[in-house]
Every structure is written in C-alpha cells, then in structure tokens.
C-alpha cells in the first residue's frame, strides 16, 4: 500500500532521513519505533506531503505520491496528531466533521453532525461532548476527539503520531485498544510512530525500527523480541548501555 524507497531529507544541511526504505502492506498496522530525532515524524510528514523529500520515491497504491492531485491523495488519509491538533475555535463536533462540512466530501450540516456524534460514540464519548470547545476537554478526551476526526471520513490509510504521549497508563491503554479495534474494523492501513512499547505490542502487526534516518530492522511484532539487531534490543528493553548513544 505504502512503499518508501531510498528517502533522503536534510534540514539546513543536517541529514534526517538517509535512505529510508519501508513497505507497509495494505490492511496492516505498521508501527515505527526509534529514539527522538531519528526522523520518524519527518518520515510521516514526507508521506503526507507536509515536507518535500530531497530524493527517493513514495508510492501509495502504486502511484507516485509526490506527483498528481494532492487533495485527492490526502482525501484517502486520516491522521491523529501527537497533541490532537484540534481547532480551538470550533466546537468538538465541527472538528470531527471538518472534512464533511467543506470540500469534495461535503454533506448537509445535520448529516455531518450525526456522523460526528456517531464517530464520537465510537471512541467512547457521549453526545454531550459535541458542542464543547476543545479547551474544555481533558488530554485523553482531546486524543479521542482527534481519533474521531481521523476516522470521520472512513479513510483507507490512518496515521497515528505518538498516540499515547502525555496520557496516563490507563488512558494510554484505552487509546491503544481503540486504535486496534478501529483499524481492524475499518480494514484500514495504519502507520503509527511511537516510543511507547506497550503501544507497539497493542497496535502493531509489523514493526520497523528507524535509527539515524534509516530503517534498521523490520518484521512482524511477534519476532521483535527475538530480533538479532542490537539497536532494536537496546530500544525495546530501554537499556542505557548499547549501540544507541544516550546523552547523560
């Protein structure tokens, strides 16, 4: 479904991606792990077209994602941002139904609201939340609203950027379960980036480890613990000593 080949990206001469290769099969849930600053978010932004790669190719369903109609491409995506990135000035239901209130997927306002309330219900939020502003919600509720927005237009591909960052372990578990359920139920292709190993085990079909701008290891989540790569072993066990240098 998504294939990245030899992707390079530098910022002000500092290389972030140094030839990343990755294939995400259709309908699978791929989780990218790696330390801070290894290029995970940049990789995601390159696929979405928010950042233009210096070289390499990005194919989505066999089509070059860097060419052609960008709006049509983005209409196939949903994305949950790390901080939820809800629009402060809009009530919750309009955040969820944003895509359904404008553009090619526009629906009548009442229908868009009904869909928004249904998506909120799907992520465990009642209709009473619909008319609140994002600032009136807790961090966990904002993540759920962000998740509802990501799935509102039933996208084929969903990206999750650090979905459990800043949440307590129980809420993180709830969000992980929701993501797993929704991805399975919708049959969507999912790409998640996270540091959180409990998220990896809950969400992933396959795991890729990104380090120094390259994918060091990629395989099924069941094989991750036995992966021979010392970088993967250090990361998943959280050891301070190992090939990944840690600043003290």
């Amino acid at each position: 479904m998504i294939t990245l080949t030899d992707l390079h990206k530098s910022f002000d001469g500092a290389p972030v991606l140094r030839g990343a290769n990755l294939h995400v099969p259709k309908g699978s849930s791929m989780v990218i792990i790696g330390g801070s600053g290894t290029g995970k978010s940049v990789l995601l932004k390159c696929i979405l077209g928010l950042v233009t790669p210096d070289s390499g190719t990005i194919e989505i369903a066999g089509q070059d994602a860097t060419r052609g109609e960008r709006e049509a491409l983005l209409s196939r995506f949903g994305m949950l941002f790390q901080g939820a990135a809800l629009f402060d000035s809009l009530p919750v239901w309009q955040n969820v139904a944003f895509r359904l209130l404008r553009g090619p997927l526009k629906r009548p306002r009442r229908e868009a609201r009904e869909i928004a309330v249904e998506k909120l219900r799907r992520v465990g939020l009642g209709p009473e939340v619909a008319d609140r502003l994002p600032a009136e919600l807790s961090g966990g509720m904002q993540k759920r609203v962000g998740l509802a927005r990501a799935i509102a237009a039933d996208p084929e591909i969903i990206f999750f950027d650090e979905p459990t960052t800043g949440l307590d372990p129980i809420m993180a578990g709830v969000i992980n379960e929701l993501i797993r359920e929704i991805v399975t139920e919708m049959g969507a292709t999912a790409l998640t980036i996270t540091h959180d190993m409990s998220s990896v085990r809950a969400i992933a079909d396959r795991v890729a480890m990104l380090h120094a701008g390259k994918v060091r290891w990629e395989g099924p989540v069941g094989e991750m613990d036995a992966a021979p790569d010392p970088y993967v072993q250090q990361f998943i066990h959280g050891h301070a000593a190992g090939p990944i240098e840690a600043l003290r």
Partner: protein, 268 residues
C-alpha cells in the same frame, strides 16, 4: 604586513556584513511579495469559506470600531486645540474647521486607523496563526484536504481590504466630530458655520485618498499578520517573536505606504 591586512580586512568584513543584510532584506521582500500574490490569488479563486470570512469581518471590522472611534475622537479634539493655538500666532484661528477636516481625512484618520489595526488585528492574526502552526493545527488542515492559504489567509485579507476603508471613513467622521465638539464648546465657534466650512473645504479627492489608504493599510496589516504567523518559529518564543515582528513590520510599512500614497495623490 599585519597592519595592511587589518586595514583591508576590516572594511571588507563591514561590506560583507552589509551585503548579507541587504541580501536577507531582499530575500524577505521577495518571500513576502510571493506570499501576497498567492494570498490575492486565493481571494479570487473558489472556494471562499463564508464562515471564516464572516468571522474575519466581525473581528477586523466591527470589533475594531471602539478603538478606532476613541482614537479618532481624541485626536480630532486635540487637533482643534493645536490649530487654534498655533493659528492664533498669525491671527488664523478661523481655519480650525478646514485644517481639522483636511488633517483628519487626508492624514491622521487613515494613518491612526492603520496603526490601530496593526496593533489590534495584525498582532491577533499573527498570534493566532502562529499558535496554530506550533500546535500542528496548520498541518492538520492540510491533512484534512484544506489549503491554509485559502482557509486562514484569504478570508482575513479580504475582510481587511473591505472593512478598513470603512473604519477609516468612520474614523474621519468621528475625528471631525471631536474637533467640532471642542471648537464649538470651548473655542467659541458657531456650530452651523463650523460644519459648513468643513463640508465646503473637503474635496472628493480627499475622501478618495483616505479610502484608498484605508484599503492599502488594511491589506498590509492582515497580510503581515498572516505572513509572520505562517512563518513562525517553534514554541512560545516563536509565537511571541512572530507577533512582535508582524506589528513592527506592519506599522513601518503602513507609514511608508502612507508617504508613497500621499505623493501619488497630492504631489501634482
């Protein structure tokens, strides 16, 4: 040998610094021009987001009325006092209505409204958009197939282009009214005569120049707020810097544009 080297190196370094500053300034001017052209092109190309446009009209136009009115009324009153006192030095106290009218309509009305809009609207646009940028709301817009230039910039720019001339017209009238109130209440002017002198003295070109300046200043104010917001750095510091720089740049450009437009309208 080392003295010769120093004598050559110091001016070269100074020239290098100056050259880099000029190149940076030209680069910034080029980026701002491209941004302005893109923003204007989004105004004339559908879709226009009516809700965002309506909110921008309310925010830029209606909600700016109190500050514009207060600024104009006090300036008009002070202007009447100054002209009366200055005119008394050569027995020309009677010109108060004419000079208040021409001063407000040609210069003070547009410039003060422009500067108040820069303080109120440019800062809030820059802070709002910069905050949206650092909290990834701009990226979220893109992933939701919505062009930020069309959704955030075009409605604000169009609203400013349409409402600031009206605010300037209101400011002109209130400023003249402030002068009228002071002149008739404490300087002994006849109310009917004051109004007649004001209306007879003003020409259509005075009003036209005032409205044209309002349009230009509104465009500058909104454009710079959007530009610095969209190009904000990271974190709270980035938002603060974007807001401060946008207001400084808008104020300077408004004053420079005022000089140019005054030359265009009245130099002949």
């Amino acid at each position: 040998m080392s003295l010769t080297r120093t004598l050559v190196a110091a001016p070269a370094a100074a020239l290098g610094t100056l050259g880099r500053a000029v190149i940076r300034a030209l680069g910034a001017a080029g980026r701002l021009t491209l941004f302005a052209l893109a923003a204007l092109s989004h105004i004339v190309r559908p879709p226009l987001y009516p809700r965002e446009f309506g909110m921008a009209l309310l925010h830029v136009g209606w909600l700016s009325l109190p500050v514009v009115g207060m600024t104009a009324v006090f300036t008009g009153g002070a202007l009447a006092l100054q002209i009366y006192s200055g005119g008394a030095r050569f027995n020309a106290e009677a010109v108060v209505p004419q000079i208040v009218a021409i001063g407000m309509v040609r210069e003070l009305g547009p410039v003060l409204v422009g500067l108040m809009i820069a303080a109120r609207v440019t800062s809030s646009i820059a802070a709002e958009i910069a905050t949206m940028k650092v909290t990834e709301q701009i990226d979220a817009l893109v992933t939701l197939s919505t062009d930020p230039m069309k959704y955030l910039v075009a409605p604000r720019l169009l609203a400013a282009l349409l409402t600031v001339p009206l605010l300037v017209a209101v400011g002109d009238v209130i400023g003249i009214a402030g002068g009228y109130a002071v002149a008739t209440s404490s300087l002994g002017f006849n109310p009917v005569g004051y109004l007649a002198n004001t209306l007879n003295f003003l020409e259509p070109l005075d009003v036209l120049s005032s409205l044209a300046k309002g349009c230009a200043f509104g465009g500058i104010a909104a454009l710079l707020g959007c530009y610095y917001g969209m190009h904000s750095g990271r974190g709270a510091q980035g938002v603060g810097r974007a807001t401060k720089t946008s207001v400084e740049a808008a104020a300077i450009l408004i004053l420079a544009a005022n000089f140019l437009l005054t030359g265009v309208f009245f130099s002949a």
